[in-house]
């Protein structure tokens, strides 16, 4: 590639000439880049939506009922014994009066006069939370151990919900891993395709232009334009695809949300954000191409003039 016949416009002309020489390769490269950009956007959106700490509903919980009232039992010893059982992560003491008050405040129970109940029939208890990601078997084994502790009257733990949740989380993890593998593969394919379609740095040209005193920018310019164009089109393709998908899926997702009484709103991607994304992608592509051309040129000259 050489842009002797002019300046920037000529360099751009060289880039387009290269594209028209191998249109299929160019289209495949753009498609692969768009796929990578789209995957990156989706990953970023998911990462932004997901909380950093796992929510409490993702952790197994149990209620350890203490045998005897506060003052009759060494609650500190019970708490200590509970905390030593793996995989217990935390325990919180819930006194019988507090429990009765919370129960009385629940919807539907306010009118039946639970607060007037004398004596309070509820036991003192410890709300126990297990470590995130603990397997259902481990949790159930820990429950069995907790039941055997001294001064523990019983443990309330329905195993089925956590088993279902654990299965769902495993499936979700598989989906995420599969997505990551797919993203990695598409990235590798994209890099391969783009590298194959990318204009080659002509060693002879680099050497001659250096000999004649050309600015390094003149040598790099066509490659920089090429990089900017590829990444610009790839980003535009990704943004367009995602905007189209969002537009297409919005009614279906809205219906689904309504069916399950979920608050759901899906705003269409803003045009300004899309333009900014394409601009920064083009700059990034130009930067990569400039660096690659610089390194290739330096290698050529280092071999020629040690």
């Amino acid at each position: 590639m050489m842009n002797f016949t002019g300046g920037r416009l000529s360099a751009l002309g060289e880039v387009f000439a290269g594209i028209f020489r191998r249109p299929l390769s160019f289209l495949l490269s753009i498609g692969a880049l768009a796929l990578v950009f789209a995957s990156a956007i989706v990953c970023a959106a998911i990462a932004r939506a997901l909380p950093i700490d796992p929510p409490s509903w993702m952790q197994a919980q149990a209620l350890v009922l203490v045998a005897g009232a506060e003052g009759e039992v060494d609650l500190a010893a019970v708490r200590s014994a509970i905390s030593q059982v793996a995989p217990v992560a935390a325990s919180e003491f819930v006194g019988r009066d507090v429990a009765l008050a919370r129960l009385a405040q629940r919807k539907g129970l306010t009118s039946i006069g639970l607060e007037e109940l004398k004596p309070n029939p509820l036991p003192d208890a410890f709300a126990v939370r297990f470590a995130p990601g603990a397997s259902p078997d481990a949790v159930e084994a820990a429950i069995a151990q907790l039941r055997k502790l001294h001064n523990v009257e019983g443990v309330e733990y329905p195993p089925e919900p956590y088993r279902k949740l654990s299965t769902l989380l495993q499936a979700a993890r598989l989906v995420v891993v599969g997505g990551a593998v797919f993203l990695g593969a598409s990235l590798a394919i994209a890099i391969g395709l783009v590298a194959a379609a990318w204009p080659r740095v002509d060693a002879q040209e680099v050497e001659v232009l250096h000999l004649l005193g050309a600015d390094p920018a003149v040598v790099r310019r066509p490659y920089v334009y090429s990089g900017a164009l590829y990444f610009l089109l790839g980003a535009a393709g990704a943004w367009g695809s995602l905007a189209g998908a969002a537009h297409w899926l919005a009614p279906a997702l809205g219906d689904l949300a309504q069916k399950y009484s979920l608050a759901w709103s899906m705003d269409p991607p803003a045009l300004g954000t899309g333009l900014a994304f394409c601009f920064f992608a083009a700059c990034f592509g130009a930067m990569i191409a400039s660096g690659a051309a610089y390194l290739a040129g330096r290698r050529v000259l280092a071999a020629q003039y040690p």
Binding site: F4, G7, E205, L209, L211, L212, G213, A214, P216, V218
Partner: protein
């Protein structure tokens, strides 16, 4: 982005921050001709170029090498203790057998490589201490014929020559016009070869195209490696006559000439000595030698000046 447009191509040095070079260069007469002298009629007016810069107070030497040494890794040094002084407007021929250091010397003078020892000064400025970008720009004011011509094979003869002018800041059409004139000057038929790609050319034609490329900017300094290689006697004589006319107008020429290796010369060789004392006139351009009478020669052998 090719280069700053100015009367003297070396004015960029001030912008590049190399203090004092421009003044020294002006005094020494480095730099291409002022642009106003590039009219349509005088691109190469029988190569009778007027001295382009008054050099009444010019320093005696344009190029100075002080105890220069060049080594490539652990191999024996390509150049050893070279001290050399080349005056403005001088035609210097560096003669020697293959691998004697001639091409290395020219690359050092062109700033394409840096010496591993000693100093190469151009108009009093240490070339190795210039910034890399400055050395690249400096070559726009030189005409360089590298060993192995270094033409762009895929491109036409005309474009190969015009490229040098375009890089030096000449507009496209003017570059092409000068390229035609330069090719005509060295005896290449522009009508026949101008549009032809360089890849299929005969060695002699390629060589003359590369010489035309070196001349196209009418540089102040010509560095010509193996300038008569691949040329028959008549073509060599013609090319050397043209180059000699450049010298007459104040252009400094350093050319290399490959000779057969003669071991007895080595035995005669003494310790390297200074150049001015060792410069000797070549035989006049007569029956045996195509070199101009004004040309003076030094002999290199195994990286040392032997005579």
């Amino acid at each position: 982005m090719r280069g700053r447009r100015c009367d003297l191509d070396l004015s960029w040095i001030i912008a590049a921050g190399t203090d004092g070079v421009l003044e020294a260069a002006r005094a020494a007469g480095i730099g291409t001709l002022p642009r106003k002298q590039y009219g349509t009629a005088d691109t190469f007016p029988s190569v009778k170029i007027e001295p382009h810069l008054a050099a009444t107070d010019a320093p005696a030497s344009l190029l100075t090498l002080e105890r220069v040494e060049k080594r490539y890794g652990a191999f024996r040094p390509a150049l050893v203790d070279i001290s050399l002084s080349i005056a403005r407007g001088e035609f210097l021929v560096v003669r020697g057998p293959g691998a004697s250091g001639k091409s290395t010397l020219l690359r050092l003078l062109a700033g394409l490589e840096s010496p591993t020892g000693g100093t190469v000064r151009l108009a009093g400025e240490d070339v190795a201490r210039m910034r890399a970008a400055s050395r690249v720009h400096l070559r726009r004011s030189m005409g360089i014929l590298p060993s192995g011509d270094s033409l762009l094979d895929r491109h036409s003869v005309l474009h190969n020559v015009a490229l040098a002018a375009w890089i030096a800041g000449t507009p496209r059409e003017e570059s092409l016009r000068r390229a035609r004139a330069a090719l005509d000057l060295v005896g290449v038929d522009v009508e026949r070869y101008g549009a032809a790609p360089c890849t299929g050319l005969a060695a002699g034609v390629r060589h003359r195209v590369a010489i035309a490329r070196a001349l196209v900017n009418r540089p102040a300094l010509l560095l010509l490696d193996d300038v008569v290689a691949s040329l028959d006697q008549a073509a060599a004589a013609h090319v050397l006559r043209v180059i000699d006319q450049f010298t007459e107008s104040g252009v400094t020429v350093v050319a290399t000439d490959r000779i057969e290796r003669q071991p007895e010369n080595v035995e005669k060789a003494q310790t390297p000595t200074s150049v001015s004392a060792n410069l000797e006139a070549l035989p006049p351009a007569g029956a045996a030698s195509p070199w101009p009478a004004r040309a003076r020669a030094i002999h290199l052998h195994d990286g040392k000046i032997v005579s």
